[in-house]
Symmetry: C2
Subunit: 465 residues, 2 copies
């Protein structure tokens, strides 16, 4: 056994350090198969730790199959044959593809500057889920893993109904279904309400993963140009007449990627078109917590006649929670819940309890307000930094998480994005956001990471050229 250095001031318990140290020697094949390990007493004395620390560590190595106990004669390194041949972890696709960008935005450890990500960094989110919140949840450890009702924890649904009410949206808790993020909400909607070959309206530009989700279901995507004040309603009307789409996906507030809001007048007219053409509208409000509570949403004026409202906590609390929700007419919630049972059985209780605790504590609203203020401040700095690096902007103001910029004509954005990745920088290519194949010179920037000097240093020479 090589010398194991134990760091006595580390927050990592000594037992964990011992397990990790021995496991590394065995998995790295520095300890031969069949080697006899020091006795518990020997090793404890040698390392200056308690006997129980070594007993526990050996126990855990046995449990992991790395060593074995032989009756009466001690512990031995287990047979090599049991160690799997190394298989490389699957690499992500190129960052200028839908799946490559989606995967790399989630594998943040591999990226230095996630400027193409759609998430806030953990440092911005930590204040909402405090150790106190976690401790309160953990107190119920004995029942943390009981079955989760497939519609979602009743207490969380009550609190979500309260939260929606603050936005002027009148939904009872029975009209709410909890999902694994907004992504699962879109998936369930496609599976429950549509059949392959159906036409759906989507915004161009719009959320790129949604397009791939819908295409995978065999749906026909009909792009509706997104204007500064919302979707192009003439296009909506024409497409409705020609193709009789059943669903339209739209973001009323802080549209991804442009950051624009649909005007109240357009909201009203869009609902009129929905009524006229029997169109259901999926209002994707995942960025809604970055907008003022009193901003107008379709669900507020429609009251679930034509609107299905989707929200979630990936943006304001963190994407690793996977807590989203749908608020809709009860008959639709019923269909979505059945589809949920047939795809994941039910939700994960622990994240649902964490979100409930954050909402119950009353701190979520303050947290969202603070994020709004901080994002507003960052927006100006990000725009300035990007403009200085050669990025151009067509829209005036800006709010929310994103800036939607352009690079000079003639620059191959695919090459730019792949080169950036080699420098540890993740960029989001604009064309992924355009189902009609436009936006070839656009990029979407996460404002928090857009001020990173490494990004400017990468972009400036390449955009000047």
């Amino acid at each position: 056994v090589d010398v194991i250095e134990l760091a006595r001031n580390s927050p990592v318990p000594l037992g964990d350090q011992l397990v990790d140290g021995l496991a590394a020697q065995i998995e790295g094949r520095r300890l031969a198969e069949g080697t006899r390990l020091p006795s518990v007493r020997q090793l404890a004395k040698q390392l200056g730790v308690g006997v129980f620390t070594v007993v526990g560590a050996y126990d855990r190595l046995v449990a992991r199959g790395l060593i074995e106990a032989r009756q009466g004669s001690g512990f031995f390194v287990a047979a090599r044959a049991n160690l799997p041949a190394p298989v490389a972890i699957e690499q992500a696709g190129p960052p200028d593809t839908v799946l490559g960008l989606a995967q790399q935005a989630l594998e943040v450890d591999r990226v230095t500057v996630p400027a193409g990500s759609g998430f806030l960094p953990p440092a911005w989110l930590a204040e909402a889920v405090t150790p106190t919140v976690m401790a309160r949840v953990a107190k119920h450890a004995h029942s943390l893993f009981r079955p989760t009702p497939p519609q979602g924890e009743p207490g969380l649904r009550e609190l979500l109904a309260d939260r929606l009410r603050l936005k002027g949206i009148n939904a009872a808790s029975g009209q709410i279904l909890i999902t694994f993020g907004a992504s699962q909400a879109f998936d369930l909607l496609a599976r429950a309400l549509l059949v392959p070959g159906d036409a759906v309206l989507v915004e161009d530009p719009g959320y790129f993963v949604l397009f791939a989700q819908l295409a995978r279901h065999g749906l026909r995507l009909l792009p509706v140009p997104r204007q500064a004040d919302g979707p192009d309603l003439e296009a909506v009307e024409t497409l409705c007449r020609l193709h009789r789409p059943r669903l339209m996906f739209t973001q009323t507030l802080l549209h991804n990627p442009t950051g624009s809001n649909t005007s109240p007048a357009k909201c009203h007219r869009l609902l009129g078109l929905a009524e006229k053409h029997g169109l259901l509208i999926v209002e994707d409000d995942v960025y809604g917590d970055f907008a003022p509570d009193q901003a107008l949403r379709l669900a507020q004026i429609d009251e679930f006649e034509h609107v299905i409202h989707v929200g979630g906590f990936s943006k304001a609390l963190g994407p690793g929670l996977r807590v989203g929700f749908v608020a809709a007419a009860p008959a639709i919630i019923r269909q979505l819940m059945e589809q949920k049972i047939l795809s994941v059985l039910s939700g994960a209780l622990l994240p649902e309890l964490v979100v409930a605790e954050v909402l119950r504590s009353g701190r979520f609203r303050r947290h969202a307000e603070q994020l709004r203020r901080r994002l507003a401040k960052t927006h100006g700095m990000a725009r300035k930094a990007l403009a200085a690096a050669g990025v151009m902007f067509d829209e005036q103001a800006g709010a929310g998480l994103f800036l939607w910029g352009r690079v000079p004509e003639g620059i191959d954005v695919g090459v730019l994005v792949r080169t950036a990745r080699e420098h540890g920088i993740l960029l989001a290519a604009g064309r992924l956001f355009s189902p009609a194949g436009g936006c070839q010179t656009h990029l979407r920037f996460n404002v928090v990471h857009a001020t990173d000097p490494a990004l400017s240093a990468f972009l400036r020479p390449r955009l000047a050229a």
Copy 2:
């Protein structure tokens, strides 16, 4: 404001009690819209609590939209119009349907005796996820909600590879994909590897939710009779020749609902058929932690040529975790991961960290052994109690979570199951488990709940009649 009784010895903080008490009065409409609440000082004095407790409580009621602060004049009950009209929470379907049984097994609060459930009660599971485990996880609160890599936490995948190795299954962590339970694994498999109209082999009897999942994907289910030593291989051969199915779903160990194991000889011959007919076999090992680690599994001898191995922690740690996994050839894992991104984006970090911590602590293996012993003991008692109540058994021995029994011919099991539900007893009708429409007089019993005297009292007179 009605008198609010605060329980000073309760573990529920006084502030929470105050919020709940006031919210109940407002939502129950015992406090009229516009009513002025006592000032903070008044209420604090009246209740004998600190001023900060009342400030915090009012703050949280404002955050929930139940009261509003008016500049300079105090707190008032918010407008009634904002309260949603009550909409009943969606009721579950009848318990003798697939979705009704699945939903009611997850909504345990509504059932007194969940004898038809496929889960262990929380009391059996609490020792594995101790407050210490939770505290260790919670310590990392600042990064608990960072994005989860879509393939699953690398640390958890390493530990799962270790765990599989103990079962003689040689998988590298790169060959493992984390899913929201085995249910999502089946869903992703159907979506990634099959197209509507494809034929798949399933066991009869077998897991009823799987059948509904596959049927919803438009797949053709070909039932293979399950025998005492595994699937009927002549049926497999014939069906392969006639229908060229691409996939077969089977449970090698502790088959649901019969509890039988596939013999090593049949494992070998089944893999031969897979080779001959180009059949992929999905080995569903969700009950595998209730079987000895050294029991033979298909994945052990096949090494991911023809086998896709599915496991999870819903049975041994709790269904609310939603942590399952697939181990398979890297090319299949890649396809499943893409499908996962396009349906839920990624997994939930917190449950993955909890499972990793339980595995890392080394206590999981001991916990599983203890569950095995306890189940073995319960089995005998359950069988005796059910037999005394008039249930008949065709198989001799028994292990695992279930007993597969019969009631006398002539009894309408649908009526029996619906009547039981009215008595607070959830039963699982055998015909749901038979895709070929058999098993009309069978019931599947959860052995833990089968000894409940209320079940015997319900069954005895009805089965004697």
